[in-house]
Homo-oligomer: 352 residues x 2
Amino acid sequence: MVDGFRVDTDMSEQRAPARRSRGTGRVRIEDVARAAEVSAQTVSRFLRHPDQVGPAASERIAAAISRVGYVPNLIAGSLASNRSRVVAIIVPTLANPVHAQPVEGLGDALRADGYQVLVGTTDFSQEVEEALVRAFVGRRVDGIVITGGRLSAASRTVLKAAAIPVVQLWELPRIPFDMAVGNSNIDIGACVARHFAERGYRRLAVIGHVQKSDTRSADRVTGFLAEAQRHGLPAPLVMEVDRPMLIRDASDLVAALRREEVRAVFVTSAQLSVVLLLNARSAGIAVPGELAIAGLESDLSTVVSPTLTAVRVPAYELGLQAGRLLLRRMAGEKVAQKRIDTGFEFNVREST
Amino acid sequence: MVDGFRVDTDMSEQRAPARRSRGTGRVRIEDVARAAEVSAQTVSRFLRHPDQVGPAASERIAAAISRVGYVPNLIAGSLASNRSRVVAIIVPTLANPVHAQPVEGLGDALRADGYQVLVGTTDFSQEVEEALVRAFVGRRVDGIVITGGRLSAASRTVLKAAAIPVVQLWELPRIPFDMAVGNSNIDIGACVARHFAERGYRRLAVIGHVQKSDTRSADRVTGFLAEAQRHGLPAPLVMEVDRPMLIRDASDLVAALRREEVRAVFVTSAQLSVVLLLNARSAGIAVPGELAIAGLESDLSTVVSPTLTAVRVPAYELGLQAGRLLLRRMAGEKVAQKRIDTGFEFNVREST
DNA sequence: TTGAAAGCGCTAACAA
DNA sequence: TTGTTAGCGCTTTCAA
C-alpha cells in the first residue's frame, strides 16, 4: 500500500446506513485509476487493448500499476465479460503419461492466449465425469476437452445448454458431439493383427485394459479380432487386465500365454507390454522366436531387448490440436473440419 | 428453456433508456426463484446451506432447478463471496509421472470439498513460474501449490499480497515461504552413498538431471558427494544429463562409466536408471558384479533383471498432503506444523 | 425461515 | 482517446 492509495474500500461518504464494507482490501482497478489520474475504464483498456490508450496515459498507468502492486481480478473480469479464459480437460488419470501428455499439449496451445487449464481426473468413472462436466460448466469454462468418444445423456444436456466448444479426445465418433481429435482405435488393432498375419503367426492373443468407460482399448481389441478373422486365423485369445498401470508382475500372463500356445500377442498398454516382454525373457521364452510381442510405444520400446514392436499414438499432439480447435472456436471462428485424425505410427522392431 | 421461465434477460420494463441487455441468456438463480415462488436468496441458501431452508420451499426449489436446468454460475458466486474454490498447482512437466502424480493427489484431496484444480507447467522455467503465479493469483485461487523450495522475489511479493496459503512441494526449506511438503533430498543422496560405502564400492558416480531450477536433483547430488567424502571415498564422478525423460539410449553414459572404471552409480531419475540398467546389460556388463546401479523407483524397478535398487519418494501422497494442508488453512484453521516430511523408502534390490 | 437491498471488481455499451 | 453508466449473477448484510 503506497502513498495512501486506498486503504479502506468503504467509500460511503454519506450513503445508506451503516452497512459494513464487503471489500476485500485488495488493490482494485479504481485505485490504479486514481493514482494515474484517469478513469477505471481507461486502465481496463490499457490492460486489454493497449493500443487504444494514449501514450501519456499509458505511461502513468503502467507506473501506477507497479507502484500499487495491482493484480487484476480475473474473476470480476470474467463475470463482466462472460469469458473466463479458462479451459477444462477431463482425463481418466494423470499417473499414466499417455493421459497426462494431452493436458500438457493443451496448456501449451493455449498459454500464449492467456488461457489457463482446469484438470479433472475421473479414474474411469462415468459418474465422476458427469460431476466434473457440471462443475466445469458451472465455472463457465470457455471450452472443454473430454477423453473418450462417449458422453452420457446428462453430460450432453449440460454441455448443450452451456453452448461452449467441446473436443472429444482419443476417438473419432462418426458424429462427434461437437469436435473430435483422435484416431481409429479399430484401425490400430487391425494394423497389428495384419502384421501378425503377414508374419505367419496363427495362434494370436490380445491383452486389453478392459474398463467399462475405456472404449479405446475395447476398440483396439475389436479391430484386432476382426482383422484376424479376415485373414482366416483362429479366434485370438482375449485376456483382460484391470489396471495395467499397477501390473508389476506379468508372470501369470506369460504362463497363460504359454499354456495356450499363443504365438503372438498384442498388448494394448505401453506399460504392460514392456513388463510382459521383460517377464517373458526372464522366463526363458525366446522373443520373437517362441512368442512375438507387440505393444504401445513408450520411452522404453527401443531400450528393451529385443526392442519392442509398438504402436505410437501422438498423445501430446492430441492435446495441442484440441487446444488449437478450441482457440479457433473461442475466437468465434466456424470450424468445418470437426474431426481431426492424428493417426498413429506402427514401429516394427525386433520383438515380432 | 421450459414453461417460459426466462427467455430474455432484459427485465427493463420501464427502466432507463434503450441499453442493450448484456445478459448471457442462461438460466439464473432468479429464474429458479421465480419458478419455485421464493426469493433468489432462498435458492442460494438451499444450494449452500440446505438445512436453513424449510421443507416445502426446498422441495419446490429442487424441482424448479431440475425443471429449468439450472447450473449455478460459480464465477458470480466467487466474486460475491471472495472465494473461488479453485486451487492451483505449478509443476515442471506433466510428462513425468513423478510430477503428474502430485496433481492427482491434490485433486483427490480437494474433490470432496468442491474444489477444482488449475494446473500450470513451467518446463523448469523460472519466468514461466512467475507468470503462472501472477495469473493464478489474478484468478483469485484460494490456495496454491508450487513445485520446489525456491521462490523468486517477484513471486514472493505477489503471493504475499494475495495472502493465500502456499505449499512448496518436494523440498523442505528450513523456513518455508508458508508451508512445505517434501523430504530432504540431501538425505536421499546421502542414503545411497552410505549404501554404496557399506557394500564396499569405492569408485562412485552420480548422474543427475541438472537444470537450474531443478534443485531436487542438485540436492541429491550434493548429499551423495558429502556422504561419500565422509566415508573417505574418492570424489565421485558427477555426470549431468539435460533431459532424462528424453534419453532413450544411455550407451554413451555406460561407455563413460566403464572408461572411468566406476564401480557403482546413482542415477537421480527413475526413467534414466532403468534405461541405464538395460543398456549396461546389453553391453554385457555384469550388474552388480562390474557395475552397481541405484536409481529412483518406478513400476519397472521390480520388473527389470536384475531388479533395481531404488529410492521411492511418495509423489501422490505429496499432493494429497499438500491438499489437506490447504484445506485446513482455507477453512480458517491455523496450521502449526508447517513442514511435513513425507520421507522416502530405500529399496535395496539385486542391482547393488 | 425468509426477503430486500447493496455490493463483489470488473467490462460492455454508449456518449462525448 | 476518454469517461459515464449500468450491469454480469451471485452472496452478504441487515431486517423482518
